[in-house]
């Protein structure tokens, strides 16, 4: 029992100390540059958070809680996680979307750690990641309250804007598209409208989602919204004058942005000339070209086959007929002519006949030409 009372005392002593340390650990300042503003009027919310007690290492998780009562866009953020002297500076652009009092609430978590844990965390590498051990303490921050005033009736745009209009041409042929660019530029709530021109039976409107470019600075956000459109018609038409009602919260005065009326002269065209006389794509017909290819191949094959046959027939015709040498031998009337014929043949069978003919021609031999011819013919037959 004695021991239990001692432990309880120690715990109570520690809690009071943490509370006091917590109270002095860091200082914060959250403020809006305006407390009263018009609907959709942009204000700047600044957050400054500085560690004041360097004993521990403090890390902060801060965010503005989202709400459908306002739109928020970050403008600037600077976090300095230097050990024992953490600072956080952030600023936001806030556009109120509801009238009356609205609250901007925050979420802040204080993460407490020390040098040993930080070194342990920093000693890891990508393959041996070590979690930073912290003690996370949610901090309840009071909300910032804004008083939002309504806009004048018919207001479409809030901010300081100007408008430029660019029309490619005011003359075109029937159904040819005529391009038109309208650019709304300035600082304020994003000047994005559903449509600039309504649909009409006088023309066909082609439009696309407006191109929004924004330029963020530490003091605000500038917008440049381009409306890219095209019109086509079969006859002359007029785009009526278009007036956009805007309100400048800085001057607290309403003003108007105007797009002048645009007259377009359309040259009619012969509609019959626009219609194709041929079916495109062409009507589906059965493709019989493969038959032509097959027939071509067959023709080439047949031609080759017949050529080969022709050579074969020619050879057979030549071989089938009587040995032409017989006729040549028969026709020889002189020994010299017969000798010439025989030596041309390269045939051993005629060796004896050649020798006889040589003897007859060059050695006054007694052989008779007729007998020699008969010998040769017998050999050939």
């Amino acid at each position: 029992m004695k021991h239990n009372l001692g432990s309880l005392f120690v715990v109570m002593l520690l809690m009071g100390f943490i509370s006091s340390v917590f109270a002095e650990e860091f200082a914060y300042k959250i403020e809006a540059n305006k407390q009263e503003m018009y609907l959709k009027e942009g204000i700047v919310l600044t957050v400054d958070l500085n560690q004041t007690d360097p004993k521990n290492i403090l890390l902060f998780q801060f965010e503005v809680n989202k709400s459908d009562a306002f739109a928020i866009y970050p403008l600037y953020a600077h976090h300095d996680d230097t050990s024992h002297a953490t600072t956080l500076h952030e600023s936001y652009r806030i556009y109120p979307l509801k009238t009356g009092d609205i609250n901007i609430s925050f979420s802040l978590v204080k993460r407490v750690t020390n040098d040993l844990k930080m070194r342990h965390f920093a000693s890891g590498d990508r393959d041996d990641f070590k979690k930073l051990e912290t003690k996370d303490v949610p901090i309840a921050l009071p909300p910032v309250t804004l008083h939002v005033k309504p806009l004048p009736a018919k207001t479409q745009l809030v901010g300081d804007f100007h408008i430029t209009t660019k029309v490619q041409t005011h003359e075109a042929q029937a159904y040819a598209p005529v391009a038109m660019h309208v650019v709304i530029e300035g600082e304020g709530y994003p000047p994005v409208l559903d449509t600039l021109y309504p649909k009409s039976k006088d023309y066909t409107l082609f439009s696309q989602t407006p191109e929004v470019k924004k330029t963020v600075s530490s003091t605000g956000i500038a917008y440049k919204v381009a409306y890219i459109m095209a019109f086509s018609a079969s006859k002359d038409f007029t785009l009526p004058k278009r007036t956009l009602h805007a309100f400048n919260p800085k001057t607290k005065k309403p003003y108007t942005l105007t797009i002048d009326a645009q007259n377009f002269h359309i040259t009619p065209v012969n509609q019959n000339a626009l219609v194709d006389t041929q079916d495109m794509p062409q009507k589906l017909v059965e493709d019989w070209s493969w038959v032509k290819s097959v027939l071509s191949y067959l023709l080439v094959f047949t031609a080759g086959w017949l050529s080969a046959l022709a050579f074969k027939w020619e050879r057979r015709r030549v071989t089938d007929t009587q040995d032409p040498l017989i006729e040549k031998v028969t026709q020889c009337k002189e020994a010299k002519a017969l000798l010439q014929l025989l030596i041309a043949q390269e045939d051993k069978r005629f060796t004896t006949s050649i020798e006889k003919l040589e003897a007859l021609l060059y050695a006054n031999g007694t052989f008779k030409l007729k007998e020699i011819k008969q010998e040769i013919l017998e050999i050939l037959q």
Partner: protein, 315 residues
Amino acid sequence: MNTKISTLKQELSKAVVGQEMMIEGLLIGLLCDGHILVEGVPGLAKTTTINALSKALGLNSKRIQFTPDLLPSDIIGAQIYNPNDHSFSVKKGPLFTNLLLADEINRAPAKVQSALLEVMQERQVTIAEETFTLESPFLVMATQNPIEQEGVYPLPEAQLDRFMMKLVVTHNSEEEELEIMRKVANKSFETIQPVMTKEALYTLQEEIAKIHIDPELERYIVQLISATRDLEKFGLSEVKKCLMFGASPRASIDLYKAAKAKAFLRGNTFVTPADIGYVVHNVLRHRIVLSYEARAKGMHSDEIITRIVEALPIP
């Protein structure tokens, strides 16, 4: 017939049955210092003939089987490094012989063919920086197989021109084949004895040089060769398209020499038109190039040569 030649032929007949045409072609090549290309299927006694001829003449003979992986140094020789005295010595290749059988010459790539054919022409071999003259006589009998033409390297026309004659060797007759069969079965082939010396061969070559040839026959030879180049001029217009190229001047020289040798082998002291006729096919058949059309018709160069000889009147 010259007694020495008849003795030689008789000695050869102890080992070779038939194939008179091949033996006579080899003798003509040997007597004229020419080289012979033989076309024929395997087993026609080509190696036997060369060996028998070399033994009968007391000459050296070697055989090279041409293959696609053969290198020029494999046939002509190369320098060998001797590590003992750090010197190079020349190892002569099989070309250094008298009678060489270049078997299936078209199986070897062009560089080996060129090496051989150059040696055939120059009759000398250069290895590294040393030039060796080949011993005389030097005869190359190259063979080509008319079948199995896949993966062969056909000899170009310019190389073919270096062969004096191309012989087409055919199978023996049935009677000859029966004799071969019996001789092999009974082991009754006799041993070839040297019947002629190298000096005697030189004497025969000198005798051939003295064989008379009439100027008209000389002109006849030139006309035969000219006709292969201009068929139309000799009234052979119908076969003009069959020939792509005619024979070279080397053909005239070889035909002249071969006709003289043939006359000598027949025992004559002068050349007759028949002597020319006997050798003209062998001298020309590998030197004329047939056109595609002629080859498509299945023609052979022998047919063109026959037509030319038939067309040209003999003196």
